[in-house]
Amino acid sequence: MPQPLDYLKETPSQTAGPYVHIGLAPGAAGFQIYGRELGHEIAAPEVPGERIRVEGVVFDGTGAPVRDAMIEVWQADAAGIHPHPEDPRHADCAPGFRGWGRVIPDFETGLWAFDTIKPGVVAGRMGRPLAPHISLWIVARGINIGLATRMYFDDEDNSADPVLALIEQVHRRGTLIARKTAPGLYRFDIRLQGEGETVFLDV
């Protein structure tokens, strides 16, 4: 018998359920409890960069909007820096830039939106830069483990992005690219299943 390996196993995931808002966005659940809810401001007003709004709907496999989801976003600032000690340039990250937010769809229509600044190019592996992108993580009733994806921008040069290039079915790359619909406004729908299914990531 070889020596046993001394690793623990990751705690298994369970669905966030229909009432995820109570814990993570109680205002959306219908009550106030905390001095400050987290995740409302991704970039404070003084943060430099192009102010943008991103909106969309999460659709299920039947084409119905997923109205009880919770989406978290994570991104770099306009210079491509993450406010985190493991970003080698984090000391230069814009003050007031949190980079993280929580997004709750309208319970009737499923439409969600968040305001932020457009992220910059992020340093990637092997010196290959990552085109500007926002990471998203989606949980909801019926989602057993949070779904990770990325949103790119259709008015940026995505041609050399190493992650998009990994998607073997070229026609699916577009599922990760938000469409500019007006100045400062982007549309990014997420399809959980079926026709036009969004590419989800194992990161």
Partner: protein, 240 residues
């Protein structure tokens, strides 16, 4: 800290996206394979939280919403450590919980269960782990509640738990169950997890050593997040 990647997530330990006995998952599960990536800066970083973000009372669900007195129900402590797969504590990480009250009713505009709302119970709390990864909450033991799946499905008593870790790729939401609950074995959501040992990881034992005599019982719930490799990126990050 130096950039290092996380262990690959063991997707066979977690529930599969699609599980026919948990009906809502049928139309909310991707059919295509996930795209597996090596970690980049976007994943090995993640949001950080500090004591400015929360208030000390936020981890006391018996008091954080109370209006006219204490909530009804069995008073309990839920406590434990957040560790990674390498058994290292995860300090200063945000732990958020939410739950039904003792009647099995949630304070949510979409919950219409006939169990009574408790005017003194909100049902959510949050805290930061300390330097050793330790956290604790004081709360009320939640009640079981029925849900529409098969017509007579009941959720075992459970507390929903959200944890961040230090990187966005460690992000995790799960549920904690209580030792000895016969509904665990019957729950379609619990049973989406294929390995019984993984289910056991979600069952908090009664912890009499942490109970406060004449006041409240205690349950212990340790949480394990993905560990990271001890080796650095072989392909260095540009700008490093």
């Amino acid at each position: 800290m130096k950039p290092a990647e996380f262990h690959q997530r063991d997707r066979l330990w977690h529930p599969p996206a699609h599980h026919p006995n948990y009906k809502t998952s049928v139309s909310r599960s991707p059919r295509q394979a996930l795209l597996s990536l090596e970690g980049s800066l976007s994943e090995i970083t993640g949001p950080t939280f500090g004591h400015n973000d929360i208030d000390p009372i936020d981890n006391d669900l018996i008091r954080n919403f109370a209006k006219s007195g204490d909530p009804v129900g069995e008073r309990i402590i839920v406590h434990g450590r957040v560790l990674d797969e390498n058994r290292r504590p995860v300090p200063r990480t945000l732990v958020e919980i939410w739950q039904a009250n003792a009647s099995g009713r949630y304070r949510h505009k979409k919950d219409t269960y006939l169990g009574a709302l408790d005017p003194n119970f909100g049902g959510c709390g949050r805290t930061l782990t300390d330097e050793t990864g330790y956290y604790f909450f004081r709360t009320i033991k939640p009640g079981a509640y029925p849900w529409r799946n098969w017509i007579n499905n009941w959720r075992p008593a459970h507390i929903h738990v959200s944890v961040f870790g230090s990187a966005f790729s460690q992000r995790l939401i799960t549920q904690m169950y209580f030792e000895g609950d016969p509904l665990i074995a019957q729950c379609p959501i619990v049973q989406t997890i294929p390995d019984p040992r993984a289910i056991d990881q979600l069952i908090a034992p009664l912890d009499m050593n942490a109970a406060i005599p004449l006041d409240c019982l205690a349950y212990r719930f340790d949480i394990v997040l993905r560990g990271r490799r001890s080796t650095l990126f072989e392909n260095r990050l540009e700008g490093n």
